[in-house]
Amino acid sequence: MTGTLTIALKELSDYLGTKRFWFLFTIIYVAGLMAAYLGIQALVQARVERSFLLLFRASSGALPPFLFFIMYFGPLLGIALGFDAVNKERAKNTLVRLLSNPVHRDAVINGKFLSGVSIVTIVVFGILGIASGLAIRVGLVPNLDELARLVVFAAVTILYIAGWLALSQLLSILFAHTSTSAVASFAIWGFFTFFWTPIASLVAGNLIPDPNSLERITLEQNLYRISPTVLFLEAVLVILTPTARFLNPISLSELEYVIPNPLPLLQSLNLIWPHIIALVAFVLVCFLTSYIIFVKQEVRG
């Protein structure tokens, strides 16, 4: 454990010292603030609902809402933090020297992951804090339930980005060159972010031709959910929308009995438990695979 912590602290100071990190950090903050600002403008103009949480999913149209912005750019932060975690040490011949000291191999992976997650946590809470500050300035003060939802939103976001971090770290173990692992990470990100939904629709359409059948819609939806991006989006939409009651299609007759009032946070969480567990599994699978491969791997480049 001491090894893990030592490595984590060293990595943390490394990240904070690189231009790459500050470059990305600035872009994320500027873009995040823009999205929050436009969200607030949209809210101020809106007449119907003026809730604090709407800030994160509303948009005036010039930019996608804050939520989408996190969905797209969050993974990039995770990838930037992880894609060269192990192969850079290998290329620079520091891995052998590091491992000749009394540290377990898993401490290397754990330490690097831990420092990455710390950075992600700082960035996510920082950006949500600033956006909330902006909202409070224009009079959108969150109540206790909304505040709790904001924290859950932050936690799910960190989990989602941590998944991409773990994935890129795995690729940095699999590939010897940092450029290969970077390209592979971006390719997977692009695939799940842009191409997965149309592919899933195509597959579902071929299996069940009737576009209106419940089976078709359910299949399509479940296929979508293989993508961590979709899982994140659905989970976060439920958290940020207290009135959201279902994720799956329901019949009109069932809808008749629905009372359109907001759910308490625990009920919303109930709805998205499977999503959260799937995201945790995404992290764990990447992590365990990294662990198994790295322990068996030759230390020489």
Partner: protein, 312 residues
């Protein structure tokens, strides 16, 4: 004497390629052992197995009483390893790099500071302590590597080609360090393809070719056994030598062969006959200016094994 390193039939295969072939190695505690062989002979693979960083395909090994695969952490606390391709974190200064190693070894900050100051001083790196390693020359990196290894005050040092590619002054400093380590009772395993340096500091040498240890012992022992076929070779300097003297020496009991090149005699005998030979030369009325037993140079041994021209 206790053994620092012992291996039994240690073998490492990569697919069909045999990197290390049933190696039986014994290194005594407190000695400097030279691991000699051309590049690609399996020296580095062996060292990595000794540290538990590479898993042996078969065979057993014991390093400082530990099994490297089973008790790697305990072992790594006691062993300092200087890799052949030495890497440091280029964005960090020399001192920051060493402090990181100290933290990984659980050395307290105060203790680490004083050790680092001493080591950098001993290795003439004090001025560069706060310079980023990216600005270091090859020789400076290598010396910093020695500091990195010595920082944890190891009992056993595994040095993989510690002097390759650096200038004579740097080589001298590193060899001095090795001699000093032996004086403090540490065991050193030194891998190299540079004969001259190994010869200078090693108590014993093992010759490693294509994954096999083909000879092991002191340089004198190896020379006698390998080159001369277990004979003593005496060199004598007689300025007024004549063919008659050659005949006289040939007639002596125990002399096998006498060669003369000008005033220099090379005499092979069954045992150390220096006294007898000297007496015979002087008694025959000749001037004897020098007589000594032949010192085997490592390159003779090396050339014998590898057939080619030795490097270095």
């Amino acid at each position: 004497m206790q053994l620092a390193i012992q291996t039994w039939g240690l073998t490492k295969k990569y697919g069909d390629f045999v990197a290390v072939d049933s190696l039986d190695l014994e290194v005594k505690q407190g000695e400097v052992y030279g691991f000699l062989g051309p590049n690609g002979a399996g020296k580095t693979t062996t060292i990595l197995m000794l540290l538990g960083l590479t898993e042996p395909t078969s065979g057993r090994l014991r390093v400082l009483g530990y099994d490297p695969m089973r008790q790697p952490l305990k072992l790594k606390r006691l062993v300092g390893y200087l890799p052949e391709n030495l890497g440091f974190y280029d964005d960090m200064t020399a001192k920051q790099n060493l402090l990181y190693t100290a933290r990984l070894n659980g050395i307290s900050f105060v203790e680490a500071e004083s050790r680092i100051a001493k080591l950098l001083d001993a290795l003439m790196l004090s001025d560069a302590a706060d310079v980023k390693v990216s600005a270091f020359s090859k020789g400076m990196r290598q010396r910093l590597g020695m500091a990195d290894v010595l920082l944890k005050d190891p009992q056993l040092l595994l040095l993989d080609e510690p002097t390759s590619g650096i200038d004579p002054e740097g080589v001298r400093q590193i060899l001095d360090m090795i001699v000093e380590c032996r004086a403090r009772g540490k065991t050193v395993l030194l891998s190299s393809h540079l004969l001259y340096q190994v010869q200078k500091v090693c108590d014993r040498v093992g010759i490693f070719v294509k994954g096999r240890l083909i000879a092991s012992g002191t340089i004198q022992h190896l020379g006698r056994e390998v080159i001369a076929g277990d004979r003593y070779v005496v060199e004598a300097e007689v300025p007024d030598a004549t063919p008659a003297l050659e005949e006289t020496l040939r007639g002596l009991e125990g002399v096998i062969k006498v060669d003369r090149a000008g005033s220099t005699f090379t005499i092979e005998c069954r045992s150390d006959l220096r006294g007898v030979l000297a007496k015979a030369i002087v008694a025959s009325g000749y001037t004897l200016t020098q007589i000594r037993s032949h010192e085997y140079a490592l390159d003779e041994i090396y050339a014998r094994y590898f057939g080619g021209e030795p490097k270095g």
